[in-house]
Subunit: 312 residues, 6 copies
Amino acid sequence: MKIFCGRSNPELAREICIYLGIELGKCIVHKFKNDNTFVRIEENVRGKDVFVIQTSAIPVNDYLMELLIMIDALKHASASRVTAVLPYYPYARSDKKDQPRISITARLVADLLETAGADRVLTMNLHSEQIQGFFRIPVDQLLASPILCDYFSKSGLENFIVVAPDAGSAKRAEKYALTLGLPMAVLDKRRDPLNDTVEIFHIIGDVKGKDAIVFDDEIATGGSMIETANALIEQGARDLHAGAAHAVLCGDAPRKLQESPYKQIVVTNSLPVEGEKKIKKIKVLSVAPLFGEAIRRIHEGKSLSELLRKHL
Amino acid sequence: MKIFCGRSNPELAREICIYLGIELGKCIVHKFKNDNTFVRIEENVRGKDVFVIQTSAIPVNDYLMELLIMIDALKHASASRVTAVLPYYPYARSDKKDQPRISITARLVADLLETAGADRVLTMNLHSEQIQGFFRIPVDQLLASPILCDYFSKSGLENFIVVAPDAGSAKRAEKYALTLGLPMAVLDKRRDPLNDTVEIFHIIGDVKGKDAIVFDDEIATGGSMIETANALIEQGARDLHAGAAHAVLCGDAPRKLQESPYKQIVVTNSLPVEGEKKIKKIKVLSVAPLFGEAIRRIHEGKSLSELLRKHL
Amino acid sequence: MKIFCGRSNPELAREICIYLGIELGKCIVHKFKNDNTFVRIEENVRGKDVFVIQTSAIPVNDYLMELLIMIDALKHASASRVTAVLPYYPYARSDKKDQPRISITARLVADLLETAGADRVLTMNLHSEQIQGFFRIPVDQLLASPILCDYFSKSGLENFIVVAPDAGSAKRAEKYALTLGLPMAVLDKRRDPLNDTVEIFHIIGDVKGKDAIVFDDEIATGGSMIETANALIEQGARDLHAGAAHAVLCGDAPRKLQESPYKQIVVTNSLPVEGEKKIKKIKVLSVAPLFGEAIRRIHEGKSLSELLRKHL
Amino acid sequence: MKIFCGRSNPELAREICIYLGIELGKCIVHKFKNDNTFVRIEENVRGKDVFVIQTSAIPVNDYLMELLIMIDALKHASASRVTAVLPYYPYARSDKKDQPRISITARLVADLLETAGADRVLTMNLHSEQIQGFFRIPVDQLLASPILCDYFSKSGLENFIVVAPDAGSAKRAEKYALTLGLPMAVLDKRRDPLNDTVEIFHIIGDVKGKDAIVFDDEIATGGSMIETANALIEQGARDLHAGAAHAVLCGDAPRKLQESPYKQIVVTNSLPVEGEKKIKKIKVLSVAPLFGEAIRRIHEGKSLSELLRKHL
Amino acid sequence: MKIFCGRSNPELAREICIYLGIELGKCIVHKFKNDNTFVRIEENVRGKDVFVIQTSAIPVNDYLMELLIMIDALKHASASRVTAVLPYYPYARSDKKDQPRISITARLVADLLETAGADRVLTMNLHSEQIQGFFRIPVDQLLASPILCDYFSKSGLENFIVVAPDAGSAKRAEKYALTLGLPMAVLDKRRDPLNDTVEIFHIIGDVKGKDAIVFDDEIATGGSMIETANALIEQGARDLHAGAAHAVLCGDAPRKLQESPYKQIVVTNSLPVEGEKKIKKIKVLSVAPLFGEAIRRIHEGKSLSELLRKHL
Amino acid sequence: MKIFCGRSNPELAREICIYLGIELGKCIVHKFKNDNTFVRIEENVRGKDVFVIQTSAIPVNDYLMELLIMIDALKHASASRVTAVLPYYPYARSDKKDQPRISITARLVADLLETAGADRVLTMNLHSEQIQGFFRIPVDQLLASPILCDYFSKSGLENFIVVAPDAGSAKRAEKYALTLGLPMAVLDKRRDPLNDTVEIFHIIGDVKGKDAIVFDDEIATGGSMIETANALIEQGARDLHAGAAHAVLCGDAPRKLQESPYKQIVVTNSLPVEGEKKIKKIKVLSVAPLFGEAIRRIHEGKSLSELLRKHL
């Protein structure tokens, strides 16, 4: 077994290697002056079971091409099996054709990974579960949800309610609500029929006097999270918490969240949370043991389902 | 252009041909005594643009194999393009891996259709939009929703509310609610923490004194529809209506629905509604003009997006 | 090594497992109320060498789809190799294009198996040997012929003749005749030039006063077998026996054969011979040791050719 | 439409072009001094419907590679469709795995043709009909049989019998017998049980005092034809005729056939019959009009089945 | 016919459309805040012959993913044919495995383009001609060389010599020398055997007192060009000119070239030469008419070879 | 591990087996009288790691088809991995499209090898390094260059110069020059502008009074080597030597080389040098240890790069 990583989240890769008690594989990954990505694997991988860790951080396309080139180099260097480990899957929100003449890019990415030579994929909390069907190669999806639930459970949950930030995430929120034994509410967002530019936010369900946890799969611009917070406060909710697997936090999301009504925002390190992203309100839970254990089991041919059963 | 159909819904195929003003292509489709399906296309199709209409009625596997064999026969008879027209897509609910070691059969079906030689697919109201991403060939998805909304709009909608029969269909219900300009509610279904075999149904949102339309993509056993009806009545809803694109109506669903609190159940003829399925409460809207128009546009290279813009 | 089976012939699968001294793998295979087939593998198969036993019994399409779904589930559950074990291959008679615009469905089935993820195929007595060429994956074909010959040899063969029930099976009959050291005859079947609806049956070769064994690869409706029997009796043959690898026995074949002039009909359990199929005249020979041994050798990388050399 | 040919049978290609009233496409096909085949198409073929005529004459591998290179050159020169026209299909007798660890080379050739870029295949009298199933691309098989039957019918057929030179060709012979309205017999060939090196030939069926026509799909070494002739004469047949689609005539077959008891040997020009192959007893019927008409119909998208209906 | 372009070189795309007298197709191409590229084609393309123009400018990976997503969107919007027009092919220098365990990324890019759905490729002056063999789809390679030669010829070429900046480009330089009727020289670059960090540059051939044109396929960092200039001057060459098809000009190449001994640097607009790249010494020749004419011919099925014959 | 060989260079195969200390695998390879190639593997290869040695000697197409059929037979006999060992790769010079409407046959050969079932390729001194990119399967390229350099170094190299026989091989010659620490020169070959049929040869660089070694990748007709020799002598070179990896030596090349000014011609046994090819001036160096060691390392999953580092 060999583990390599691209440049998107080397800290997570190092933590995973520590969990597994092995050294991170050596490879050179850089860009030439003409902006072409270059990869050279610095260790013999013939007949080896190789895992490449690369998450879809920003710059997204650079990290994706970096991954494809690494896989190609590993396959032509005769690795016996290459597993692409994608803690945060690229283009996961482009998973349907909800406008004419657009690309289902999450599917295109699956095809590109297969073309480059990936033999299997290990990922976490896909935006929609159907993305697993975009692959012909086996895909294992880990879940950050139990890690998030554990964290919130320990803090005590009396008089709490789970809130879905839109109708599309109602099902996901319901799972959290079931696990935590809490009631749930849903944000209903629509345009004002009298003035099309005004959006009206309405909470379906009773949140008055309750502490709320808003769960989503990822926090990107933070807009949806903050709209939900405002609507919750308007309808009399008390303390607000947010939970999400992936901390994309693009643009001025960190600042906006720090200034928002949330008391805390709980995420994982599927994406690096560093520098100005590391605001005070954010709590980062590590998924390194989860990925490390999954990699170990895949390598040894043991079942992953047990690992998932502890989860949502 | 030539249109052929299997044995799953010949009535719909005939209606589509009437819309298009052409004759249904001749072919022999039967089973030998050894239960092997046999297909012989009875017209020259060399260089023709061929559409094969087959819906996923019961018996599901027989109709699927029939379709695969027809496509194979057409391709080897040198049809220039074969479009599989699937008003109700087979195995659409098997679209994710929500248990260990199961098949994403909706994806497998996509692969089988491509293997048999289908060049494109025309379908309607997929269980999840991501299923389009299961195909490498182009897929056009039609929507029955505007036909259903039109129907309900004409009957007057004062004091109505749209209801999602579970959290997973909240997003779909939201679209109906937006189109019809109605508020919405969601059924929250969970096990009793004290007694695991008892399910508790709770409506999130306020339905008291309102007439409700419960929307789903399909009605199979009717169980989910009837649970929702009971919860709605318990919480004080008045008249109940049901709307769905696909009328699977398996087992004793027709009888149960006839005896249920619903005043009417509105569906389309994407699946044949005949014999004992044709209960009094059911209202069947035809999608033949929708499919006919889509086929005409595909054949002539015109845009389908206009056809969809009128829809949800 | 793991062995699973579909619902087409569990008895044979159990016998094979007894031969191998291992337990049949656990899996759930059933149909939902909407007639959709569902499969869940109940054991970890990561990195395992898996064999799936499914014969093409009636209902043919259901069992075929069941097999495809099982293979898909196993591959996505990371089985390292999946061998489809098909004692009676589906659609084997649809192996050529002898009419315009038909499907070579035996080839389509090969493509579907590969698409679902089968890595190799183990089958027995294909209707034509060329079907092996329909696959890109390796195919091993076992032969029931030595088992049938052994059985007849033990009963004594003095004054016997081998008869082919039509010109197309002359080559197969010749092989039996060579193995048993017997002369052969062929049934020549043609339409009366004076009256096109009347068929004339004529035996080429001398059968007078001889005991005859009519060999075919399968007995489906029994029509061909009974026509041959009548022609043999007309030309003075004495006791009649029938031998075939596959006992399809569809429709009222069992009754017709029981009432026919044959003294006995010898077949194998490549298809289940149960219930009303189990007529008195039928003798069922087990191919479980043959399949068990072949599976063992495939698993251990040993040669199968020795196993076949004992055969025709 | 453009027609090109390799170097295997330019005379047939020219005859086909005369039938179609078009000129043969210009191309350079030769071998470099290092024995590498070189092809350059000398006319623009962008968007054209191209047919490449190449039969499997000797040297077989050179002509096959020549064809593959021509197809590759045509596809990369942007021909819209390339049909490989193979009057005599290469490696047609290697169509099954009747020994361990051999290649089904007829299937491999199908794969090679598809890999090189062939979009369809037009061929004639395949050794076994199942070979059509070796292709994923459409295959049209023409039949020389009606041309042969016409020829024999014109000469008068009173007191004739059709003879199959072995059990494997009994079905083919039966078709000729049915078309010509003649009885049939089959040569039964086996080893002497007392002395394994001696072969015993026995005619099943009554040939005494009859004129016989021995039909096969091809005449290669002529050995099988001559053995049949000897057995027929031994059992009292009178005049002997031979009919076959393909005149391979390898080694000293021409001389042996000229010295054999046959009065005439009727073949087609699917393979060139020139030089020392053109013995006196041989009668060559042209298939150029048959191929020319088939090419015209394929190009114009008309049915070929009518063309075949006139045939066996 | 429709022409679309990405964001890499819209000016060239506009010039090509002017040459063709058609309007550039409308499409939206931008990045979401989460750095995901988004594409929506704003015109119906069903059954259309579509060309997408995208050159490999910096940022390379963004423009490549943009192109892949555009092709995917166009194919799923049912374009009948998509030609990727790549004036400067991405990763062209990664065309061989000259170190262990690296990727032949130019080949990977070819695979990615095919996977996304490209039906053909139109490009110019590939780094090595073998890259055409990396594709299974047809590739047309245009040549800027005659445009460069025309330009230099007009300026008068008395007492000139062509110089190859390294041994690997000797063959390319030889073609220029042949076209221009000039002698040639080659720069021999090697390490000092006494001091491994010192590179020794030596001109093979006689350049004394001559005006030199140094030809390369691209100018990236300019380093190789400037080393050649220094060696030429040292060996007594007079005026220096540089010619190259592709103006990558990365880093401080523009400044270094402006300060170099070259009198002028002649390139094409296969890559945008704008802003600080537009130094005084640079002369940009347009390839828009060349690409425009090639696109017209590809669309109309006319030969491109005539277009190339005017070239090197 | 098993090693098999075709009929192109059995002597080299035997040497390789001696190096490895294993026996050459048994197989039957011959041609039937109808010129069809037949292969039967005579040993069980189930699950084995198989290497097939076949070089592209004359007759080229026969040996290529022989190899494809062997690979197909091995894969269908369930070999776990088949490595095609091609000391001299077929059609290596057809690696680009330098004329309109020709085939890049080196790429077609790569596709044919993959289609037949090759899992990897081991070859030596490809005509251009880009050919590695024609394959999707892993390719290892060995280099004869250090073997040649070793040989020349031992003879003493004072006052020597390396010469490239044309501009296209300047890069290759440069590598030899760097390894041997020698200066280099290049033959510039062009047509006389006054008389187009006369070729003018001119050596770029100073060869006067020096001993020259002309390096090329292969010697086919010997024409290029002899032209270079003549130009060298004209410009005052002294003793001439030639070095090349592959000894194609077609036509009367042996005789011409023997009569040429070269003192010796050093090649390897990648192609058999036997019979009249074995002229006095030729020195054949064995690559058997190189291939044997590479095969051993591939089988054991060890790095090949060390093996290459000793090389150019």
